[in-house]
């Protein structure tokens, strides 16, 4: 409910003040002040945005912010992070406090239109999933009929859960909690058979379980949660840079360019790669985008290709060990697909 009121208030304020923001030129502002101000997740979601004990930021969303800074300035350190809660992320972007919102934000039509943002790239395809204890012997969410399910109240998660069970003619007993921590603890204590939230969250919650190997995430994904960076509406130059920063990482993976081999790849015989890395003499890709010619090289040097970033933050190289799944390259059955760079 509170969320709805906030959304309505923000929406109203945005409509009222949309005129002031319509002619924004974030790229010039960013170049003038010398850094990108990036809104990220300050808590909750491991692997997407979190600070280590030295105060360094790390995560999949954080890497995207660094990639944008690398593209614009050729220096991935020229980025400042604003940790944001779920409630104040939208006003922060709308008011100009941040230039870019990369905070595991689901791209939906109302956010794209009513809130006055623009989305294009999706840096993580998430979706609501289920976690169960292995000892139940359940292999699919369709076998969960009659199960008690731990869920956080007041979220779309709760509604999706009810829809899914009803549309599959199954019974379930919701065990609803106000806070995520309580839901975690209740599931850990065995008060429910299954736990549901976004799949990326399930993996980090599994790490808090007394015995992670006793739990498994079921393969079914019951909702679409494409998470991507958002920028203010009507600023296509800035949207271009943010989106292509992500696509450059995806394309680099497709081309087989990594943080380690990016220098050798500059001399590759493949014209696509040479063009991508700004080695073609007459290429105007960087200039057209409004960034230096070697923008893609800088991105890859700073954060690696998409696969490297994924593995480091949420994949096998991290405690989360999330499988690529929908986030694999399109050539490998996933949805990560960079438009041609030419």
């Amino acid at each position: 409910m509170a969320k709805k009121i906030v959304t309505a208030l923000v929406g109203a304020a945005v409509l009222g003040f949309g005129a002031t923001a319509s002619q924004a030129d974030t790229l010039s502002d960013v170049k003038a002040k010398g850094f990108v101000q990036c809104g990220v997740n300050g808590s909750n979601l491991a692997g997407f945005g979190a600070q280590d004990s030295q105060g360094n930021w790390a995560g999949l969303d954080v890497d995207l912010c660094k990639a944008v800074a690398a593209a614009v300035f050729g220096d991935a350190t020229k980025v400042k992070f604003t940790p944001l809660s779920a409630k104040d992320r939208f006003p922060a972007l709308q008011s100009g406090e941040i230039d870019l919102l990369a905070r595991n934000t689901t791209w939906s039509i109302s956010r794209d239109t009513q809130l006055g943002f623009d989305f294009r790239a999706v840096n993580y395809y998430d979706g609501q999933g289920f976690m169960v204890k292995k000892e139940l012997g359940v292999k699919s969410a369709l076998e969960l009929s009659g199960a008690s399910v731990c869920v956080q109240s007041g979220t779309t998660t709760e509604l999706n859960l009810a829809d899914y069970f009803r549309s599959n003619n199954m019974d379930f007993k919701p065990v609803v909690f106000e806070a995520q921590d309580e839901a975690d603890a209740a599931y850990n204590a065995g008060r429910c058979d299954a736990y549901t939230t976004d799949a990326s969250g399930l993996y980090s919650i599994r790490l808090k379980m007394a015995n992670p190997d006793d739990h498994m995430v079921l393969p079914e994904i019951i909702s679409k949660e494409p998470l991507g960076p958002a920028v203010r509406q009507n600023d296509s130059k800035w949207l271009d840079i943010v989106s292509w920063a992500h696509y450059a990482m995806v394309a680099a993976e497709e081309f087989g360019i990594t943080q380690a081999n990016v220098e050798e790849m500059k001399t590759s015989a493949n014209p696509d790669i040479k063009r991508f890395l700004g080695e073609e003499a007459d290429s105007t890709i960087g200039a057209d985008l409004g960034v230096p010619k070697d923008w893609a090289v800088q991105i890859i040097k700073a954060v690696g290709n998409y696969g490297e970033s994924f593995e480091r933050n949420v994949g096998e190289g991290s405690p989360l060990k999330i499988a690529r799944g929908l986030n694999a390259q399109w050539t490998k059955g996933g949805l990560q697909y960079a438009p041609p760079i030419r």
Partner: protein
Amino acid sequence: MSQSITYVRDGFIEAEKPPTSDSSAFAWIRHNLFASWKDSLLTVIALAVLVYYLPKAIDWLFVSAVWTGTDRTACLTTDQGGQLPAGWSGACWAYVNDRFVQFMFGSYPRDQLWRPLLVAGLFVALLVPFLIPRVPRKGLNALLLLVALPLVAYVLLLGGYFGLRHVETSLWGGLMVTLIISFVGIVMSLPIGILLALGRRSSMPILKMVCIGFIELIRGVPLITVLFMASVLLPLFLEPGNNIDKFLRALIGVSIFASAYMAEVIRGGLQAIPKGQYEAADALGLNYFHKMTFIVLPQAIKLVIPGIVNTFIGMFKDTSLVTIISMYDLLGIVKASFGDSGWITPVTPLTGLIFAGFVFWIFCFGMSRYSAFVERRLDKGHKR
């Protein structure tokens, strides 16, 4: 007039023997713990609970706890991918240790930490003599603590002057933020609260209305609403780029909120002063200012010290609400650290919360003990 006195005592009562064992430990136990069968029952139950849980708590907190380590594997059992025996559970102090600087200072640049440390040092150096009644020169001390220190702290912490690097407030965090917000709230709320309380009791109708309106408006909304308005809605009504610093907005929000509560506490004290005191002051020919500062307020404030300290303690803990506007005070930063995949384990959240709770307790308990001391000292005329 004939008197018939029926009984006149004509000798002293034999002196009784002094109570023999009143000061012994045994007597104390009998009087306090086993005075009746109900007391005895409660004592036995409480003891049983203590005997059952205390060793477990001590074991969890200290004996089984992990003290050293660099990442989550230090606090994981073999089942979870670590080294500890299966079924182990204990506090993960290694995580608090690893995060300690962050819990204290947030993301304040690590090479600039001498600045908040210097401010903390100055604060202690000025606060301690201020709190000890024997130390002379209270006026100068107050001036330094309440006026000079905030200015020095502003320059030192924020920087941008005298070649100090600018450190924006979004990098501030942890205990530092908790203490700054509470200190500013406490320092601002007392004078503003006194003025509001006097205004509310004033005979000037407009002033009175304004004060009542302010107090009732602020008291009528939760602090979280004030903070949320200041943080989320205010920027939308300002031109982009003209934002007032979020930290400053929070400081103002907390200060006006605390002032309204303080005003009502002080008003309680003012109402407890007998009318005779006011009239006596008037009879002496004192003007309003002298009457208040010399006669009324000293008595009124003395009466409401518990209420004032109660407000301070409540405000100190309320600072945690700034997390809702993405500022990370001690509790906020501890909770945010649960999201670091480098330290996710089943025991880190509990360990972090216990640590935060302990730090809050130290400060609140300190305030409460000091207020008890001040009350005893000022209570000479009312001792019962």
